[in-house]
């Protein structure tokens, strides 16, 4: 039995964050290198790791994000190996090197606590989309893990001559230096229940990248679990 299962044993640690399979994240924790992770995303850990839900620093930063259930991030400290997952979503690991990335709130899985981050509403879109379009802007040098339902695609906005329009439910992350605006494609015919189903998009322009997932399911499963 061990023979067959041995293939799924953890690989030796090679980096702070690694994929174990496509949907699981393995984080090598060490004292002094704290991690902020989505509440409820922990699936396993080895070693001595402590979790502090709703830490004061996060509460301050994420007060806009809070909808009465507490901040959706927990602080993980200690030594060991931490395994995180979000209901089988693909995990994409990004090693920021003095870069910045804006991530849709539900697509954040974990990031180094040493990174600068802040929660912001997308301007002009605040009243849209039941989930509320909150995004977390993360910058600095360190590791970030995102989730994507399905294999994502990265599109370079600079290459197209026109703006890039994205369904907000499928949006995962984008470069913060892109200009974002909402675009409604209502027509007279759309108003009588004959829309194309694509009534609202976000338009990106400028130099940078947009990460999109092949699914329009943006429900926050970790949150919904309660």
């Amino acid at each position: 039995m061990n023979q067959q299962l041995a293939g799924y044993a953890p690989t030796p640690v090679a980096a702070r964050m690694e994929n174990h399979g496509s949907a699981m994240l393995k984080v090598a924790m060490a004292t002094g290198q704290d991690l902020l992770a989505r509440v409820g995303s922990m699936v396993a850990y080895e070693g001595f790791i402590q979790y502090e839900p709703n830490p004061p620093a996060v509460r301050q930063m994420a007060r806009d994000w809070i909808t009465g259930e507490g901040a959706p991030l927990m602080k993980c400290t200690g030594d060991g190996l931490l395994y995180l997952a979000d209901y089988g979503a693909n995990v994409v690991i990004v090693n920021l090197n003095n870069d910045a990335i804006s991530v849709n709130g539900t697509n954040v899985l974990a990031f180094d606590a040493s990174l600068q981050w802040g929660v912001e509403r997308v301007k002009g879109l605040a009243k849209f989309a039941g989930q509320g379009l909150f995004n977390v802007k993360i910058s600095g040098t360190g590791w970030v893990a995102l989730t994507s339902r399905g294999t994502p695609v990265v599109v370079d906005c600079g290459s197209g001559e026109d703006e890039t329009y994205v369904d907000p439910d499928a949006l995962v992350a984008w470069s913060p230096n892109l200009k974002v605006k909402g675009k409604r494609s209502f027509k007279a015919s759309s108003l009588i229940g004959r829309g194309s189903g694509e009534a609202f998009q976000m338009a990106f322009s400028g130099q940078g990248i947009v990460v999109v997932q092949p699914s329009e399911d943006s429900t926050d499963r970790l949150r919904a679990r309660g």
Binding site: A14, S159, D167, S215
Partner: protein
């Protein structure tokens, strides 16, 4: 006007283009995979009688320069210049092949192609994906062959054994000396001095160039395929500054900076040693203070080190987590090598050129500019678009027919028109663009994602007792164009035999020539579970040999 070839298609080169000075581009790549792309000039017996006509990275041209290796360019992983009228008379076939260098198998490759460009215009392209292959380690992509006149064929045939099997295929007598040929470059290939073209593609500076669509992970590295030397296993390390070290030791810095999720799956690599996890031998317990004697011997490179593929003790053996050192491991690591762009490089948009492109298994891109016709797509399936695209409601002509037939079963479509690229996806279902060339296919209505408006379609209703909703709606597509079918999970394609049955919930599509019969079986034990009628509905298919059905592993 580029022609799309499928596997096995052939054409005279003179039908494709009047020119004989051709550019052949090959794009092939996959996360963590490296390929050697070479051209074999074969004689009339399909043997490599003259190894000067084995054109590869260490022999970049044939003696009279009719075949030249040009290196990666314009989105191609490798490119050749072939001057057909200068190819000597004893060469009857030019076979373009890709062989995997290092670990991996052909099923891991992403979408790729071999194309022929004449006079700056692409004349033919054969696209393939990893799904067409399995455990092969080498593949013959396409051939120019001389049969009265020069012809081009899309081959797509793989070999399990990699380059050796390929060489064997091209002549047993060459086998003795041919393996020697690729090994000659080995000392040379490992030094950074050789093969400037591949080196150009690998380092990081390219990531910044927005107009460069080439996925650089496929860039060939100057290591010959048969050499089991591990170092280039993860070939292009995103940090551009590090040239491949001349020593054959594992490249320590390669692993940490690559965010290759799926292909690092340990499950895909059979562990060579029994080394079961769960019994870590002589492993110091967790809290053990670092006076452990090994600790002093743990030099910095250990945490980042990747065991070479041939090493006997790969997974979970001496349990690095057991030792205190690796926890704090990031110390020895090249922090930030590559950064943001390197991490998402593997998810880059694929280069354009076709009307329908599978971006990955779950995303398909349609280029409305190519062909100019609108596309009909399921409402809400657009995830992103670039350009000026108009999304309109698709009128009642079609929907009305369905609505008239049933309630709650109608399928809402939208028409995408204009110019630009539209990315379509639905709920991370697997997408399969099916190109119809005059033939017909029936697709269950709920598995249609999008199709060309040029196709004729009609809705058929299959009634049967016990089918949820009272009937199964299928759409029959005929004509020339592409239908994108979506499945949950990897589907199975079965040939239609006298006894082919499928669950009406799991059936996705079938070829239009086969006939569907609803067969119900009433079980004796009626109440298998509450709410179950005890009656199961199957669809039986009948048809001439050659028909097929597609079934998904998911019952909606």
């Amino acid at each position: 006007m580029a022609r799309e070839f499928q596997r096995g298609h052939k054409a005279k080169v003179s039908d494709l283009t009047a020119g004989t000075d051709l550019y052949v581009g090959v794009q092939i790549g996959g996360p963590g995979l490296t390929f050697d792309i070479s051209c074999f000039g074969l004689d009339a017996n399909e043997q490599l009688s003259d190894d000067r006509y084995f054109v590869f990275f260490n022999q970049p041209k044939s003696p009279e320069e009719s075949i030249q290796l040009l290196g990666p360019q314009s989105g191609d992983t490798e490119s050749f210049r072939v001057t057909l009228d200068r190819v000597p008379a004893n060469i009857h076939k030019l076979s373009f092949t890709a062989t995997l260098d290092g670990a991996g198998q052909m099923s891991q490759v992403g979408p790729g192609y071999i194309r022929v460009v004449a006079g700056g215009e692409e004349v033919v392209r054969y696209s393939f994906t990893g799904a067409e292959f399995s455990t092969e380690r080498a593949v013959m992509l396409g051939d120019f062959y001389l049969k009265d006149v020069w012809r081009f064929a899309a081959v797509g045939q793989g070999f399990d054994g990699g380059l050796e099997a390929l060489l064997k295929n091209f002549g047993g007598e060459v086998l003795e000396e041919e393996p020697a040929a690729p090994q000659q470059p080995e000392p040379q290939g490992a030094t950074p001095g050789f093969a400037p073209p591949p080196q150009v593609a690998a380092p990081a500076p390219q990531f910044g160039a927005p107009a460069q669509p080439a996925p650089s992970f496929g860039a060939p590295v100057p290591a010959p395929a048969p050499a089991p030397a591990a170092p280039q296993h993860y070939a292009p390390p995103p940090q551009g500054s590090t040239p491949p070290p001349p020593s054959p030791s594992p490249q320590i810095h390669a692993a940490p900076t690559i965010a290759a999720p799926m292909h690092l799956v340990p499950g895909t690599v059979p562990p060579p040693a029994p080394a079961p996890y769960g019994q870590p031998p002589q492993q110091p317990p967790y809290g053990q203070p670092p006076q452990q004697p090994q600790f002093g011997r743990q030099p910095a490179p250990v945490p980042g080190q990747v065991p070479p593929p041939g090493a006997p003790a790969p997974y979970g053996q001496p349990a690095p987590y057991g030792q205190p050192a690796p926890y704090g491991q990031p110390q020895g690591m090249p922090q930030g090598g590559g950064g943001l762009h390197a991490a998402i490089q593997m998810y880059k948009e694929l280069p354009t050129g076709q009307r329908w492109t599978s971006q990955n298994k779950q995303l398909v891109r349609v280029d409305l500019g190519a062909g100019g016709q609108p596309v009909l797509a399921r409402q809400g399936s657009m995830v992103m678009y670039q350009g000026k695209v108009d999304f309109g409601y698709k009128g009642a002509g079609f929907a009305g027919r369905i609505v008239g037939n049933a309630t709650g079963q109608e399928m809402q479509l939208m028409r995408c028109s204009g110019r630009g690229q539209v990315f379509l996806a639905e709920n991370s279902a697997y997408l399969h663009p099916i190109e119809l060339q005059g033939d017909g296919i029936c697709v269950s209505a709920e598995h249609v994602l999008a199709f060309d408006e040029s196709l004729q379609y009609e809705v058929r209703r299959i009634e049967g007792h016990g089918i949820p909703g009272g009937a199964l709606f299928t759409m029959l597509f005929q004509g020339t164009g592409t239908v994108v079918v979506m499945t949950h999970g990897t589907p199975v394609v079965l040939p239609v035999t006298p006894t082919t049955f499928a669950d009406s919930d799991a059936i996705v599509a079938w070829s239009a020539a086969s006939q569907v019969i609803v067969s119900s079986q009433v079980r004796l034990r009626r109440n298998a579970y509450p709410g179950h009628s005890g009656e199961s509905v199957n669809l039986q298919f009948r048809g001439a040999p050659g028909n097929f059905i597609v079934v998904q592993p998911y019952e909606v």
